[in-house]
Amino acid sequence: MMRAAIVNRPLDATALLAEVASDAHGATTLFVGTVRNVNSGRAVSGIEYSAYDAMATVELQRILDETALRFTDVSVVVEHRVGTLALQEASVIIATAHAHRAPALDAQRYVIEELKKRVPVWKREHYTDGTREWVGAAS
């Protein structure tokens, strides 16, 4: 089970856990990225995520292909949400599962680290003072 998607609806951790479930697995992991209330000392009220949808989906799929090669028989499902998210809402969820815990955990780490580096998704933070700013952009 390997699936990647960019979606514009709320993410469902329980559904992703169920998707990787199998009685051949002994270990399942979840990584959930959520909108937090502060960044670089500024009070955040929400984050607007946007993506180069077509490429983001393809790049996520490339990451899953690499993950499958590195961790034989691992299952991974990853969804990244776009749109405007409130505090505590999930922007990304990665579920991994494997017979053993080391590959399940290593795959989880690999996917989130590569996603952060390569997947064309951007965020514009909305601050409680009414201003907005692209995160990570040269400005």
């Binding site: 946007s50 180069y52 490429m55 952060k116 998704v121 951007w122 965020k123 400005s139």
Partner: protein, 76 residues
């Protein structure tokens, strides 16, 4: 050429059309974008994707390629 996020804001469009000669490289294209929008604050070597994959500065463009200028990614 597709533009996203801070670059779309900086260039005031989500897509721009550039007339470039045959044999144009990714590097040439970035130079053309700078010429067209001299006040847009682009980094020294902005990321470029060709047909939804990251491209190197010496990659040569072909008619019909889907080219995109990729701001620093910030997913997750």
């Amino acid at each position: 050429m597709l533009l996203f996020a801070s670059y779309a804001d900086a260039l005031g469009a989500s897509e721009i059309v550039l007339d470039v000669p045959e044999g144009t490289t990714v590097r040439d294209l970035v130079t053309a974008v700078r010429a067209r929008a001299p006040h847009a604050a682009l980094p020294p070597q902005p990321l470029v994707a060709v047909n939804q994959a990251y491209a190197g500065p010496d990659d040569v463009l072909t008619l019909g390629d889907e080219v995109a200028l990729i701001p620093p990614v910030a997913g997750g």
